[in-house]
């Protein structure tokens, strides 16, 4: 790698810790960001000559802080200096001492706080994600706008709005207590999964544009897991994301059409990601503190472990969906469980199970897609066609609609040969004796 590429990677990886510490120090997001930015500029100037510092994050914190304080002293900013209590020593040889202090407990809460301010409950999900990608990941507005398929100006506005909401939200800067910390952790985990899904639910041309969202969510998940290594739900979350993302190369065909799990070429699955996901869920289960991410990861793990679709342990998957239903009752989860039921006890049982969901899921694409599939398996083709037509009307993406159309085409094809067979049989019967 070239110098610049190396420095770029180091800056990205140091960003959450450095920015988190600067935020604790200045208690103002804009000042902290500017300080970090200035520190990065200095790094680009001095690191190629002097070589990389022993601890990039500590270097950036110290330099960023000093530059910002100089600015404030010069009167460029009408802003009071923070108390000396919070001051970080600016002696040149303070780096190692600083690094030791940062290795302590502070930086864990700094990074958690930085992530947490992005998922303030008053912010809509799309703003949370955009803010986290901008502030924590350091993606440019342009990069985020591309991933969300909106203009740069619209994204700029979205992030500015989110930032001012966050500034008003007054997230406390004191070290959080244990209950508060676990609340923050849960909120941050939910936000990371949102980022992941934003990337994972992409289809068509946006797949490549949005894949970085999945990768960023996994990267931040690993970071969180490093900070909180004994949290089974964080292990579950990272495992879930890895196991799902491992399948991405097999999820769409060359034309961008969705390929169902059963039809995927499993040799395209990323075995390294699967190994990591399986290792994490394995570790998580030992804690015997179940949670929604762990259960979903365990389901994904059963799919990942099956070399062929027919090797899938559907009975176990049904049990896991059953536990998930108890933990988070939702018609969507019942719908998912019905898929396992159809494999274990047949489409009739599955159809019966989803019948009560019809009212609640009357606007849900997947409900009609799944219902149509069961009906098709039962040879109730007219009803199946009706369900598929409703699904197409509710499809969110063109890939979803195309996928259902493929089922409809299959129905057409299936009804034709059968008709031919019937005619042949008739001919045979009517033929010469």
């Amino acid at each position: 790698m070239t110098d610049v590429a190396w420095i770029d990677a180091a800056l990205t990886s140091a960003r959450p810790q450095a920015l988190g510490a600067l935020l604790r120090y200045f208690r103002n997001l804009d000042t902290a960001e500017e300080a970090f930015q200035n520190a990065c500029l200095r790094a680009l100037k001095t690191w190629p000559q002097n070589g990389p510092p022993r601890d990039a994050a500590a270097w950036l914190i110290m330099v960023g802080r000093n530059v910002a304080i100089d600015d404030i002293r010069r009167g460029a900013k009408q802003q009071p200096l923070p108390d000396d209590d919070h001051a970080i020593s600016d002696l040149d040889d303070a780096e190692s001492e600083l690094a030791d202090r940062l290795d302590g407990s502070h930086y864990r809460d700094d990074i958690l706080r930085l992530l947490f301010i992005c998922c303030h409950p008053q912010l809509p999900a799309t703003q949370q994600i955009a803010l986290a990608l901008r502030i924590v990941s350091g993606l440019t507005v342009k990069q985020i706008a591309r991933a969300f398929l909106v203009s740069d100006a619209a994204m700029e506005q979205r992030i500015t709005r989110a930032k001012s909401a966050v500034a008003k939200a007054n997230v406390p800067f004191e070290t959080p207590g244990a209950p508060e910390r676990s609340e923050r952790l849960a909120a941050v985990a939910a936000m990371l999964y949102l980022i992941f899904n934003e990337g994972y639910s992409a289809s068509g041309e946006s797949i490549n544009l949005r894949a970085p969202l999945c990768e960023e969510a996994i990267r931040l998940g690993r970071l969180l897991l490093k900070l909180f290594p004994a949290e089974p739900e964080i292990m579950g979350l990272v495992a879930l994301m890895l196991l799902q993302y491992a399948r991405s190369a097999a999820r769409f065909d060359a034309n961008g059409a969705l390929v169902l799990l059963d039809d995927q070429d499993r040799t395209l699955w990323n075995s390294k990601m699967i190994a990591e996901g399986l290792a994490l869920i394995d570790k998580a289960m030992r804690h015997r503190r179940t949670g929604a991410y762990q259960i979903q990861a365990a389901i994904a793990a059963l799919h990942a472990r099956a070399a062929k679709p027919e090797d899938t342990d559907w009975a176990q998957i049904e049990l896991l969906y059953g536990s998930l239903e108890i933990l988070q009752p939702s018609p969507v989860i019942t719908l998912n469980r019905s898929v396992a039921v159809s494999k274990v006890r047949g489409p009739e049982a599955a159809l019966e199970m989803i019948a009560p969901l019809a009212a609640k899921l009357s606007n849900y694409f997947h409900f009609f897609g799944v219902q149509g599939a069961y009906l098709m398996q039962l040879d109730r083709n007219d009803e199946a066609r009706e369900s598929f037509n409703r699904a197409i009307a509710l499809a969110n993406t063109s890939a979803e609609a195309d996928h259902i159309r493929m089922h409809l085409d299959r129905l057409m094809l299936e009804s034709k040969p059968r008709a031919k067979v019937a005619i042949k049989a008739k001919n045979k019967a009517a033929g010469p004796k």
């Binding site: 790698m1 590429a5 190396w6 990677a9 180091a10 990205t12 990886s13 022993r54 601890d55 290795d103 990267r219 690993r222 970071l223 897991l225 490093k226 290594p229 004994a230 292990m235 990272v238 390294k272 190994a275 990591e276 290792a279 994490l280 570790k283 030992r286």
Partner: protein, 121 residues
Amino acid sequence: MLYAILCYHDEAVVGGWSKDEDDAVMAKLAVVHGKLAQQGRLGPVARLLPTTAATTLRKDEPPVVLDGPFAETKEQLLGFYVVEAENLDGALEIAQDLGRANPGGAYEIRPIGVFHGAFQP
């Protein structure tokens, strides 16, 4: 003499490589591996999963199982080689070859005391 070459690097940096960057490093390393294998000097090679996947067993009585790697360090053990070299100079030469293909981080070269046969998973 057998040597272990233990590979240390900042996991966040290596984990941050794009697939292309990762592939490029692996392709360069493959050339060095090929050369060593041809000379019959390459033993088992392992690239480890991230330290977040690690578990530590403290052999106390009773034993204690801890999540995470044994040591929290700035650079992590990310993989290792077992190679055959005449002496430390030879092992260092191999490590330098590997290092040119995969810069950054550090290699710890440790002579091996006892070595039992490897298995192919």
